[in-house]
């Protein structure tokens, strides 16, 4: 199991590869659309890149359902921290089952 720091580093590396951001530009509070200029197809690309780099399978549709439950139906953007929270939640869920 990755530590929070290691998980952030893996996700940051994947997001940076897809969105071609500068080093240090991606922070946990960065919003994908508002701050990082991500589009819907980029989410698919990010999930691919995360899986390639860390072996973590990431289903963005499931992630959005999880985050909608937590944050409400009017959610239009998610942060990097939201994604990290979902990955941890999903890992725990898979471990339990």
């Amino acid at each position: 199991m990755l530590s929070d720091k290691e998980l952030f580093e893996k996700v940051e590396e994947a997001v940076r590869a897809v969105l071609n951001t500068e080093e240090g530009e991606i922070r946990p509070e960065s919003m994908f659309k508002a701050d990082l200029d991500a589009e819907s197809i980029d989410y698919l690309d990010i999930s691919y890149e995360i899986e390639q780099k860390s072996g973590i399978e990431l289903d963005f549709t499931d992630a959005m359902e999880y985050l909608t439950e937590r944050k409400g139906d009017d959610i239009t953007d998610i942060s990097v921290q939201d994604l990290l929270d979902y990955i941890k939640y999903d890992a725990d869920r898979k471990k339990d089952s």
Partner: protein, 254 residues
């Protein structure tokens, strides 16, 4: 008769040394003895959208780099009407995703779907779409006129020039952005070029763009065989050779 209003070619400079090309997947099966690549790193290419490199072939990136140099020259035509400028582009299909294809070799049939989902970059199909490269370049420049794309490997550039001249003659467009790019991304294309077209020439990556108008200002298009006999630029060859001849004569009016 069309004339060249502006042109620019992106080709390896004298500081780029000849070297043999070999592909990591085909290894010794494909070796091109004399090549020159452009020292352009796709990820760092100065394009208006920094993440576009993920969904564009290398040729597409080179195409945009060459065409964006003409932004100032094309702007007056776009100010008149963005629909009056046409794109006439010669470019090959984007390459097959060799790393993912390699990863999927010998995968049992029942595991193939899972393997495909795992290894296939979701944006790879975008890099393979021929029309995407000039379309993206057109978006960068704000061109909304007709877009013509040719992927005939040997004569694509000739067809692009011919159609541009015809459309200018018949008043369908006020200006034509004729462009092409060639890269070393697809080893099978390189091998075909080596077998059929290259001869003793050095195979070079390159991109070229020229704005043609039907006006009297500017220089006339040189003939198609304006060729230095030393270099070959794949599908972009005729366009790049024309631009190089014009540059040698330094006779086009911007």
């Amino acid at each position: 008769m069309s004339t060249i209003h502006w042109c620019h070619a992106l080709t390896p400079g004298p500081d780029v040394h000849e070297q043999p090309f070999a592909d990591e997947h085909y290894r010794d099966a494909i070796v091109i003895p004399k090549t020159k690549a452009l020292p352009v790193e796709a990820r760092k290419a100065p394009l208006p959208d920094r993440k576009v490199y993920r969904s564009m072939s290398r040729s597409g990136i080179l195409l945009s780099l060459a065409c964006l140099k003409g932004r100032k020259a094309i702007q007056p035509f776009l100010d008149d009407s963005p629909f009056s400028v046409g794109i006439y582009c010669a470019i090959e299909n984007g390459p097959v995703d060799l790393p993912s294809a390699y990863a999927m070799v010998d995968v049992p049939r029942e595991d193939f779907a899972d393997c495909y989902r795992k290894y296939r970059n979701p944006k790879m199909f975008l890099t393979q779409v021929t029309n995407l490269a000039p379309a993206q370049m057109g978006i960068f420049l704000g061109i909304m006129g007709p877009m013509n794309v040719y992927n005939s490997s040997v004569y694509g550039s000739v067809h692009a020039i011919d159609q541009a001249c015809q459309d200018l003659d018949e008043g369908r467009v006020a200006a034509a952005l004729v462009c092409s790019a060639f890269s070393f991304e697809d080893p099978l294309v390189l091998e075909r070029v080596r077998r059929w077209e290259l001869g003793d020439r050095v195979l070079c990556e390159g991109a070229g763009a020229m704005i043609l108008t039907s006006g009297k200002q500017g220089s006339a298009l040189p003939c198609y065989d304006s060729d230095d006999g030393e270099h070959y630029y794949g599908i972009a060859h005729q366009i790049i050779c024309q631009i190089k001849q014009i540059e040698r004569e330094n006779s086009y009016a911007v």
